[in-house]
């Protein structure tokens, strides 16, 4: 049962890859390009998420 479910899940994830490819191409080609200061505005909150997860890990150890 579990092996069958894993095979079906793998096929679905494989199909998702094919569906994601044109979406990726669209955003890569037609999406807006980053302006000055845009990347730090993303890296800052993502860095905060990493630090927060590290704190949660310390809390369970």
């Amino acid at each position: 049962m579990e092996l069958l479910l894993k095979i079906i899940a793998a096929l679905l994830f494989g199909m998702m890859l094919f569906l994601l490819w044109p979406v990726y191409r669209h955003w890569q080609e037609h999406g807006p390009k980053a302006q000055k200061g845009d990347w730090p505005a993303v890296i800052l909150p993502l860095g905060a998420v990493v630090l927060f997860v590290a704190l949660l890990v310390l809390a369970v150890r």
Binding site: E2, I8, A9, M16, L20, Y24, A41, V49, V53, R61
Partner: protein
């Protein structure tokens, strides 16, 4: 000659429409999260086996790929999104049953729940208050998703704890990126369908919770 009055009316209309999508999205998100919690509790009470999780993920993926895009512009879309989130909640219950049976399991589940809420509220608040356009990360996060999909397919059969940990860590970062991306698109009026907007945010929250649960479970275990 341009009419500044007409431009003001158009701008006001678009702001009202955007706020309506934002309000409807958060209302539907709250309702679907609450419904998931109910179905998760039902699944815990019924003590369903762990394979139910994979079965519910498969069923919800099929609905999300084939049914939701066709019904998202009608009222049937609301029913479909409740079906998807209810199924995911029911599957989540099977995983929670396993974690709750572990020593400190309740603490791990509580931390993962609180952590997910803090990450979502923090990132959404940041995206809404900064009013920045985060669309430029679209290509980056979709590329990341494709790499993660390949790793997930491999780990379905390899079952390597180190790879699971790496996948969970990357998923948290990617889903955090998706929260910024989706929230800024809704706030800027680029996403006009609140059902699809809710689906995107719900999946980010669900994936962060599952990944956080996995990380805290692995790192908190004694062996």
């Amino acid at each position: 000659m341009a009419n500044p009055g007409l431009s003001f009316v158009k701008t006001t209309d678009s702001v009202i429409a955007t706020n309506k999508v934002l309000k409807n999205t958060y209302l539907l998100l709250s309702a679907t999260l609450g419904f998931s919690a109910l179905t998760a509790m039902l699944s815990i009470v019924l003590a369903v086996p762990s394979w139910v999780y994979l079965a519910s993920v498969i069923a919800s993926m099929v609905l999300g790929i084939f049914v939701l895009p066709r019904t998202a512009n009608s009222s049937a879309g609301i029913g479909v999104i409740f079906l998807i989130t209810g199924l995911l909640g029911f599957g989540l219950g099977a995983i929670l049953t396993l974690y709750l049976a572990l020593p400190h399991g309740a603490q791990t589940v509580g931390l993962a729940f609180g952590g997910t809420a803090a990450i979502f509220l923090g990132l959404s608040g940041y995206a809404l208050t900064s009013r920045r356009d985060f669309s430029f990360i679209g290509g980056f996060i979709f590329a990341g998703m494709m790499v993660v999909m390949l790793a997930i397919i491999a780990n379905l059969f390899l079952q390597m704890p180190a790879l699971s940990l790496a996948i969970a860590s990357v998923i948290i970062l990617l889903m955090s990126g998706f929260i910024l991306f989706d929230t800024s698109r809704i706030a800027r009026g680029e996403e006009t369908n609140y059902i699809l907007a809710t689906y995107g945010l719900y999946l980010s929250i669900f994936n962060i919770f599952i990944s956080l649960l996995q990380i805290l479970g692995i790192m908190g275990s004694d062996d």
